[in-house]
Subunit: 174 residues, 2 copies
Amino acid sequence: MTGPEIDFSNLKLPEPGQLEAYFALTEAVSLLQHHVEQQLRAEGGISAIQFQLLMALNGPVPLTMTQLADGVVYSRSGLTYQAALLEKAGLVTRGPSPDDERATLVAITDKGRETVGKVLPGHIELTRRLLYEAVSADDLDRLRDIMSRVRDHIRNEPPRSAAPRRRRTPPAGA
Amino acid sequence: MTGPEIDFSNLKLPEPGQLEAYFALTEAVSLLQHHVEQQLRAEGGISAIQFQLLMALNGPVPLTMTQLADGVVYSRSGLTYQAALLEKAGLVTRGPSPDDERATLVAITDKGRETVGKVLPGHIELTRRLLYEAVSADDLDRLRDIMSRVRDHIRNEPPRSAAPRRRRTPPAGA
DNA sequence: TATTGTTATACTCTATAACTATA
DNA sequence: TATAGTTATAGAGTATAACAATA
């Protein structure tokens, strides 16, 4: 579907199969996320990101904001925003850390665990129906290997210019 | 990392490998999309969605709004919003269709094609660096097959209750 | 009556920069 | 000086419902 009007002769184009893989990948995940959003919103009144945060907090120990941000693509202010929402909803509490006076400790509440418990079965059911059902066990193994490698590869990618910072801070310059 | 506090004994949990596949998949794509957003914004001043729309319009024939919406997860008002932005930026034009007086024909402009031409090489380079570089040709074939199947599977999923509508209309009922 | 598309409106999310406070 | 986190603010995106016009 690329128009004939542009000259790409200098560009080493990817194989059609490569492009297809890329498009299928992004569209499938986009569709999946869309369904997941709706399920979480309908059954627990939370967004996918809030669900991720609650899952991260669902262990026995509270986390600092920085620990919580790990693996989440946000700006720090974005995390503060979400944490404030979760706190207002009574799903987490925030308090000072005894170890480091700068840090904020975020802890999940009983109501937060309740919400996770309320939402998780449907979430698992949904992913089973949308994802697992469509692929064989063998494919799923392969998919896990491939995408884990891609994930790690991208994580190690330097931010285009400067030295890689500790976490995922906004790239600023672009 | 699941807390011991919740009783999931009634829930048939997915294998750990399945969960890993799901998490790796969503996180890798999320990281990929984040990089893509920045590249498109930096080099062409457009969002990923606007890029998708321009690519869809990059062929020889204009498309109606409905045709353009195909494969895009939006509400119709969301597409109207994006089309208005693209028009204001001079990248597309909108006009009435001679065939169907209700329809709006959207056509890409020279400036729009220019923008695609300006942005596409970097886009391809980026996906090569982030995605193709991390996987073998064989893996990429497999990935394409798997994700195409998943995409089609999800597309055919009925919206949870009512009969499947023509396109992706907001689910209303939840 | 169904379909195409727009508008109005409200809400959610994200990002930037400036700021406070502690290490 | 660097790190942890918040706040203010502005902008982008999304969804809903009501609407007008054509099929």
